[in-house]
């Protein structure tokens, strides 16, 4: 139990400190870094899905006036570490997936770089590829762990016996689509290698963590930490895909090192982002749910099948939320992977929880329907008083309050449960709901410095603001930790010049960096008291992942959706999305609301639009641009409301906060599917909910 800071600046509705720069467009993102006479890079990509490069002819490209370098596996520097096969680019002639980077062209202008890239001739010894995920594959395997270190399988009690003894059963298979993060700012960098004195690399990179990015680059190139500086004041969205460096970072650093003293710039094209920047694996979720007539769950089983790439394993932890969400007399979760000739999957907003609260939350709706019970009540009936997986008490769990308040605000009471019976002007109308959850995590390493400078407090930490609001909320935390006015606090982030900060991932950023800042403030006041002098400085750190390991720490939420489905065309509209969340204390209601509605709207996008259509003949996403890969646009969105309850949690950290960046996307897609069922009587179990899946079943 920690003593919570008195909130004075925390909780205030302050405007973003970087707001003016963003509305004018003067905030500089990685590619935009002003440098003297930059050169421009264009990556070369494999045009076969599996095979071996037999020849590369760069003559025509190199003959072009203005081309500075063509780097391929034949002339690329040997990396110091090739442990990470995704990042070990240009080290061999092997091709593991279509679109894998096989070279990079550097030229005086971006037009020339692209022209030269077109002139490079590559021949391959092409091999048959295998890129189709299915639950029937004979080569599915159990990974050792699932991301980031959870058990692959769990079992409690006798699932088969409890299922057999259940009065009502739901046994169905659900599926989520392959989806790409697609932050609006492409993965991009500016890099400069200064060869003097053994060399120094300056990398302006679009990343969710300058320090983790630097560490990866240093190990790849065999450089000491002090020889690399990573700078990133602004990130144009990441959603997990900039949480770990991808191949573009290696290419730009190689290009810079090939041209010492010359800054080089590389931005992936939108199309290239579909092969090089990570994505969420498609998931196949076999769900078994058995309950007594009164709704108490006896058996809960979730068997997940998903994909990874043949060269690098990423095992999405889709079965994890089913381990702790509801009570069950017996429970089983498993994960099986197929290793395919496909690009490398990675983090996408709420890995695990997002897909893993789709199948189970739709199954809960199916169970409620089979029982003739209200779906909100079914969830309340299965509320566990301790974490069912570990037996630990909750640090705080207010799911029931979220459900009740959400139902109240949404106008859920008196809902007619019958599907497909409400018609207004040719539209079938329905409502649905689902629960949300996200673990409250703190990373093990972050340090902040507090310094008194010209009558103000300067706080430095290598944190990242991906639009999450760190520029604005970290000063609020620092102000309360120092007992100072927030206007007297300046926070500097996004540079490895500042003390080490953890990645902005797992909704752990504000928790981790804020905890370091609180500790630094404590050290500062302890040393210098309330009347510091110019230049007084202290540091504080977090060095363990949690303040408390006796409690299960999670944020919870409930989402309610109104769906309208056109009775003739099957078109789906979602005029209302309403979420209520219990996420500890909210540091800044303005930026928090944007995070919640952003996550919920991305969940709507997952429900109705997002689908990377895999062309198995050639091993590539067919719809690899923003015209064909659909995301929600303004006209797809109606009334989107995020609310939260006052939650006091003395166990999570000194601020009493939980992460809020990911929970909004969790559960939304299930709530949409459940609302579409209520509207039409059609249960869509495979995302996204498109017309072809609805039309045949319309009443």
């Amino acid at each position: 139990m920690t003593e919570l800071l008195e909130p004075r600046a925390m909780g205030r509705d302050l405007v973003r400190r970087d707001g003016v720069r963003k509305v004018r467009g003067t905030a500089t993102y990685a590619f935009e870094t002003p440098v003297e006479s930059p050169a421009f890079c264009h990556p070369l990509q494999a045009t076969v899905a599996r095979g071996r490069i037999t020849a590369v002819d760069t003559t025509a490209a190199e003959a072009l006036d203005g081309v500075l370098a063509v780097v391929t596996h034949e002339n690329a520097e040997r990396l110091a570490s090739t442990d990470d096969a995704e990042l070990a680019v240009l080290q061999s002639p092997e091709v593991a997936f279509r679109g894998q980077p096989i070279g990079v062209v550097v030229a005086e202008t971006s037009e020339l770089a692209r022209q030269a890239a077109d002139l490079v001739r590559v021949t391959y010894d092409e091999q048959p590829h295998d890129s189709v995920l299915s639950a029937d594959r004979g080569d599915l395997y159990a990974p050792e762990k699932v991301n980031p270190g959870y058990d692959t399988d769990t079992v409690q009690g006798d699932v088969d016996a409890e299922l057999a003894a259940s009065a009502v059963r739901v046994e169905q298979t659900y599926a989520t689509a392959m989806v790409h993060n697609n932050p609006l700012e492409p993965h991009a960098s500016t890099a400069l290698w200064d060869a003097a004195d053994g060399g120094k690399l300056t990398l302006w990179d679009s990343t969710q963590g300058v320090h983790p990015d630097r560490k990866a680059v240093c190990s790849l190139f065999g450089l000491d930490l002090e020889r690399v500086q990573v700078v990133c004041p602004y990130v144009g969205g990441g959603f997990g895909s900039k949480g770990t460096p991808h191949a573009n970072v290696v290419l730009v650093a190689m290009a810079a090192r090939a041209l010492p003293g010359r800054a080089v710039k590389l931005a992936l094209t939108r199309q290239q982002m579909f092969t090089m920047a990570g994505y969420r694996t498609p998931t196949i979720q076999r769900m078994q749910l058995g309950a007594d007539r009164d709704g108490r769950i006896r058996a809960l089983a979730l068997d997940v099948v998903e994909q990874t790439s043949r060269i690098k394993e990423f095992a999405e932890q889709t079965g994890v939320p089913a381990r702790m969400m509801y009570t069950a007399a017996a429970r089983r979760t498993t994960h099986r992977l197929a290793a395919l000739d496909v690009p490398v999957p990675s983090w996408f907003r709420a890995p695990g929880e997002c897909p893993g609260m789709f199948g189970p939350e739709v199954a809960m709706d199916e169970l409620a329907h089979a029982l003739g019970m209200d779906p909100v009540e079914l969830r309340i009936r299965n509320e566990p008083d301790r974490d069912p997986e570990t037996g630990q008490p909750w640090s705080s769990r207010h799911l029931v309050e979220c459900l009740r308040e959400g139902a109240e605000r949404f106008g859920w009471a008196g809902r007619d449960p019958r599907p497909g019976v409400r018609r207004e002007d040719g539209w079938l109308v329905g409502t649905g709901m689902a629960s949300s959850v996200y673990p409250t995590m703190r990373q093990a390493q972050s340090t902040a410095t507090v310094r008194f400078e010209d009558g103000r407090y300067v706080v430095e930490i290598g944190a990242a603001d991906l639009g999450t609001g760190a520029w604005t909320v970290l000063p609020q935390i620092a102000a309360d930790a120092l007992d100072a006015d927030v206007d007297d606090v300046e926070v500097r982030i996004g540079d490895t010049r500042y003390p080490i900060a953890s990645v902005a991932g797992g909704s752990s950023g504000t928790n981790t960096w804020g905890s370091a800042i609180v500790e630094a403030a404590r050290q500062f006041r302890g040393k210098f008291g309330r009347r510091p002098e110019d230049g007084d400085e202290a540091q504080g750190s977090v060095d363990q992942a949690a303040t408390d390991d006796e409690h299960a720490t999670y944020a919870f939420g409930a989402q309610f959706v109104e769906a309208r489905v056109h009775a003739d065309t099957g078109e789906v509209r979602v005029p209302r999305l309403l979420g209520v969340f219990a996420c500890g204390r909210i540091v800044n209601p303005r930026t928090a609301r944007s995070q919640f509605i952003g996550g919920m709207t991305m969940g709507l996008s997952m429900a109705l639009h997002e689908n990377s259509a895999w062309d198995a003949r050639i091993g590539q996403v067919a719809n690899h641009d923003l015209a064909e890969y659909h995301v929600t646009v303004n006209a797809d969105v109606g009334d989107v409301q995020a609310h939260w309850i006052d939650e006091h949690d003395p166990y999570v950290n000194a601020m009493g906060i939980k992460g809020i960046g990911e929970i909004g996307i969790v559960g939304t897609a299930a709530a949409v599917v459940n609302a579409v069922f209520h509207a039409t009587g059609v249960r869509v179990r495979h995302l996204p909910v498109t017309l072809d899946k609805i039309l045949p079943g319309l009443p």
Binding site: S110, L184, S594, L626, T632, N634, V637
Partner: protein, 176 residues
């Protein structure tokens, strides 16, 4: 440089945020790359380079336009206003102020394009231009939620600030 081949180059004049530029450009160069990679004006963003996202929206000769779809050579004499040119330094255009008031963005990468697009929308509505959402084609269009959402749908926001963007545009429209 630019294209290293004079046969592929052309001379043009452009006014960008009030400043006149006389330039020799590679005829393959888009206005977007010209601004971002040669003139150092990175207010318009590149999200797709294919006219699919709206991040590069500016006012081109007074109308909203996508710079990634505009070849520089075909816009000799054009006048461009980016989000950074909408108001003098230290001041904000009413649309920009409304975006701040409503927190109508997160990462900010789509924002200069959204802002320019919104300025264009307000002017189009003022001039009575209908949209797909306009019910009565004989009446002056209003800044209803449907109208604004429809007209702003060419500007993707992956942070999904739409529910804040629409009221921001309405606020700016009301303030005119």
């Amino acid at each position: 440089m630019p294209g290293t081949d004079r046969a592929m180059d052309a001379d043009i004049r452009l006014r960008v945020d009030g400043e006149l530029h006389e330039l020799t450009v590679d005829t393959r160069t888009t206005l977007l790359d010209l601004l971002r990679e040669r003139l150092g004006n990175t207010s318009p963003k590149k999200g797709c380079d294919h006219g699919q996202c709206g991040a590069c929206t500016v006012l081109l000769d007074g109308e909203r336009a996508l710079l990634c779809l505009a070849l520089a050579v075909s816009h000799d004499g054009a006048e461009i206003t980016t989000a950074d040119g909408l108001a003098p330094e230290g001041e904000l255009h009413p649309v920009q102020q409304a975006f701040l008031d409503h927190d109508a963005f997160q990462c900010g990468y789509c924002t200069p394009g959204q802002v320019c697009s919104a300025v264009g929308v307000l002017s189009e509505v003022d001039r009575g231009w209908p949209s797909h959402a306009t019910r009565d084609l004989t009446a002056a269009p209003e800044l209803s939620t449907d109208e604004v959402s429809e007209r702003m749908s060419g500007n993707l926001c992956r942070c999904a600030a739409y529910a804040h963007i629409t009221p921001a545009v309405q606020q700016a429209g009301g303030a005119r």
